[in-house]
Amino acid sequence: MKFPALPYLPWRPPHLESSPIQLNARRLYILPTRAGMVFALLLLGLLVGAINYGLSLAYLFTFWFAGVAVVAMLHTQRNLFGLRLSAKASQPVFAGESARLLLEADNPSALKRFRIGLTHPSGVCEESDIPVGGKTDLALQLINAERGWHALGRFGIYSCYPLGLFRCWSVLELSDSNATPFGVLIYPKPAADALPLPASVGADSNAAASKTDGDDFTGLRVYQAGDTPRRIAWKAAARSQHLLTKQFSGQQGATLQLSWSQAPEKETEARLSRLTRWVLDAHAASLPFSLTLPGREIGKGIGEAHLRLCLEALARFGNPDAKN
C-alpha cells in the first residue's frame, strides 16, 4: 500500500545502520489512522446518546468498544515489536523489469505477525504475514525504476493489524554487512531490435588469407551481413534468438570492440541500450569483447564476471550518485 511518507521525530532522524536491526519501542511510532479518528468520533456520539437517553448498556458497550480500540493499539505495536530486519542482496535487473528490494524479516517470538508492509517513495509492497519463529522476505517493488543504482534509502515498515484503527511504524535506513547502503542496480534496457554486432577489428591482414579454411571451430558469433550461409549454425540459431555464425581458428585474434561511437543512435540512453544489447549478444555468442565508454574502458574479456562488469559500467554511466 502506498502512504504519504511516514513521519519521524525531526530530532531523531533515522540514520544509516548496518543490518540486522531489531524493532524496539524506541524505534516504533504509533498514531491513529483516519479510520481510527472516525471511530473515536463515533464513540463520542454514542457516549452523548448514552447520556441523553440514560442507557446504562449503551454506556457499557461504548466503553467496551473504546477499550477494544485501546487494546488494539497495544496489539498493533506488539505486531511489529521485536522483529529483526536485515537487508538481503537484491539481484540487478534491466530497466523495465520488475525491480525488487528484499528485506528479510525475522520473527524471533512465539507470536505470529500479521500484515506487515513497507512504504517507500518510489515503490509498493504487498503486506505479508511472518510465521512464528520464521523468516519472510518483504519485497519492495520499485515502480518505473530507471537505469542506475537505486539506494533503498529511508523506508518505512508499518502495520495496522488488528483493527486498522492504529498504524504503527518505524522509519529506517539500512546498509548491508559491508556498510554499503542497501539498494538495487538497474541495467539499461537492452535495445529491442537486434542490430548486428559491429565488425571485429584487430585481425591482421594476413589472417584474412587463412580465414577461408581454418579448420578449428572456435565458437559462434552473431550473424553479420555478408557471412556465408554455409557458416550459419542453424541448430544453435534455433535455440537462440539470433542467427549465429560459426567461427573457426582463422578468425582468432579478432576482438570485438564495442564502443560508444559505434552505436548508431545519438541519444545517450538509446546508445546505452544499444551497447547493452550488444554486450548481451556478444556474451550469448561467447565472443570475447571489450567495451569503451567515454571515461571508462573495459579491456577484452569473456564470461559471466566480465559481462557483469560491463553491464555495471553501462548502468552507472554518467551517473555519479552511483555507489561502488
Binding site: 446504562s56 466503553f63 477499550g67 497495544l74 504487498e126 503486506e127 519463529g133
Partner: protein, 673 residues
Amino acid sequence: MPRIDLNTPLLAPLLWLILPLALVLAPHALDLPIWISLSWLVFAMLSVFSTQRKKTWSGGMKMLLSLAGVAGVLLQYGTVIGPQGGVALLVFLSGAKLLEIQTTRDRLGLLFVGCFLLVAYFLNSQSLLMAGYMVFAAGALVAAMIANVQISAQTSAQKNTPSSPQPSPQPAPELRATLGMAGRLLVQALPLALLLFLLFPRLQGPLWGLPQQGTAQTGLSDRMSPGDFGQLTLSDEIAFRVEFSTPPPSPSALYWRGPVLWDFDGRTWQTRFAVPTTPVRGEASGQPIAYAITLEPHRMRWLFLLGLPRERLPSLPNMETTLGPDLQWMSKNPINQRLRYQINADLDYRLEPDGLSAATRNRTLALPEGNPQARALAEQWANQRSDAQAIVNQALAHFRKEAFFYSLKPPLLGENSVDDFLFVSRRGFCEHYASAFVVLMRAAGIPARVVTGYQGGELNPLGDYWIVRQRDAHAWAEVWLPNLGWTRVDPTAAVAPNRVERGLNAALPAGERLAGLMNLNANWLMPLRQRWDLINNQWNQWVLGYNQDRQREFLARLNPFLSTWQGMAWGLAAAGGALLLIASLWAIPHLARVKRDPASLLYTRFCLKLQRHGIVRGDAEGAADFAQRAAQLRPDMAKPIHLITQLYLGLRYDRAEADKLAQLKQRVNAFKP
C-alpha cells in the same frame, strides 16, 4: 443458475460484512417495519449474486434505492432522524450499501454503522438476555474488522501493482484465528470498559428531548370501567419491586396507592378535572415503614405509595412531582424510565379527619342518573342507621351474606351497570365491587371515592424484596367517616378474603385459575423463577439503574473522595493508567534470547577482567592464541590464564561436563589479574 460458491475469494469480504451485520440487525427486525427487514435481506442476497457474477449496479439505481428508502421511512415515521426513523433509515441504507463495490474504507464504515446500530438497539430493550446476545454481536463486528484489515492487504496490493507478474495469492483470513483474536480483544478490553462504566461521571440526562414512545403498555389507566382489571390480571409483567428496610407489613396491608378516581358517569370511573391543590392534611397514627420502590416505566404519570409519607416526598432528579390532597402522587411528565425512590411513611394514618370542604363533599357525593334499585337499597340503610360506620358495615355484610361471587369472567352489564351487578349477575371482579360499593355509599350520603393501585405482591426470599405484578392490580373504595377521615374499605375482601390474604389465584374459583407461569406458586419451578427475577432485579438495580445517584452512593461506600467529580477523574486516571501499564507490559512479546552456553559467559567474564588491565582480545583471535599472548604480557598470571583457557576449550569443543564447568566458574571467580 450457477451455484454459489462461498469460498471464492471475492465473496469472503462480502460475507465478513453481511454476517456480522445480520447478527446485529436481527433483534432490530422485531421492532422495525417488516419492509425494511425484508429489503435488507433482499439487498444482502442480491449483493452475493452480483458479486458472484461480477456484476455491478449502476449509480442511478443506487440513488433511486436510497431515495426510496428515505421516502419509505418518512411515510412510516414522519421523520428520518431520531431514535426510530433514524435507526430505520440507517438499517435500510446499510443494506443498500452492500450492493456497491466495496473498498476497505467502505467496509470499515459499514462495520462502524453496525457498532452504532448495536448500541442503538438498547433504546428498545436492555434486558439481560439481549445484553448477552449483543456481546456476541460485538465480537462478530470486531472479528469482521480484523478480517477487513487482512482482506485489505490483498486487494490493495493487487490494485496498486497491476503490472506485477503474479500477485502472490494472499491467504484468506482464517476463521478461527480471527474469531480468537476478536475474543481476546474483547476480554482484554473488559477491565477497561468496566472501570469506565463505574468511574466515568454519570450525567443526569436528557441533553435533549426524550423520545415519545407510543408503544402501548399494560398497566393501570386513569379510568376504570367494568372489565378493565380482568385484562390486567392476564399480565405477568412487573409493575414495580419493593425493598423494605423496616419489617414489611402483612400482605393484607399492602395497598399500593395509585390513581384516585373521583367521578362516575354511570359506567366509568375517572377524575374528570383536577383536584384542587391543597396540602395533604393527614395525621400519622403509627407503624412507621421505610421502603424503596423501583418502578418500571409505565408511560403514565402517577407514582405509587404505601401509607402516609412521613416528611416531604423525595425530590426525584429531573422530575417535577406533586402530591394531591387525596394522596395521589403525580409526576409532571410520563414516566418513561425505570425509577427508584425511597419513602419513609406511616402505615396507619388518618386523612382529612377534621372535615371536608364543601366542594370535595359535593364531588364525592355526586351520582349520575340511573341505578334506582341501588339507590333505594342505600337509602333504606341510611334510614335504618344514622351512624356512617354502621352503614359501611351493613353494606359489607350485604356483600358477604348475599350470593356474590368473585370471578374473572363476569357477564356483561346493561345500562344500569350497578343495579345489574348488585341484583342480577352478582359476579364480578374488584372493579365491580369497588364501583358498586362507592355508588351505594354516595347514595347513602357518605362521601366516597374509588382508589386504584396494586394489592399485595410476591416476596422473593432470595433477594428479600417484593415483586408487584400487573396481575396484582386492584381497586378499592375510600369513604369519609367523621373523626376517622378517609377510610379504606375493600369490598372485594368481603367477598373473597383470599384475594387480599393469599393473592389472586387463591381467590378465583378453581375453573378460572390462571394458567402459565403465574400459576406455579407451589410448583417446583418457583425457586428457579425467583432466582431469575433476583438476577433481573440486581441487573436492573446495579447495571441499568446505575445512574448519578447510584454511582455516588456506590463510590462513596468505597471512598468518600471517589464520589466527587475530582475523585472520579483521579480514580479513572490512576486505575486506567495502571491497567494500561500492565497491558503494555504484557503486550511486549517474549523474544527468543540468543542462547549462550554458561562456559562462554564465564570465558567472556575472564576476558573482561583482562581487558580492564589493558589486555584486549582481538575479534578474530583464538582463545589459545590469546592465552599465549596474555601469558607473555602477564607472566605472573600465566598459570591461571592457561588453566582457564584449557577448561574453556575443553568445555566448548570436547565434552561439557558439570564438574569442569564448576571448576571453570571457580577459577574465573578467583582470577584477579
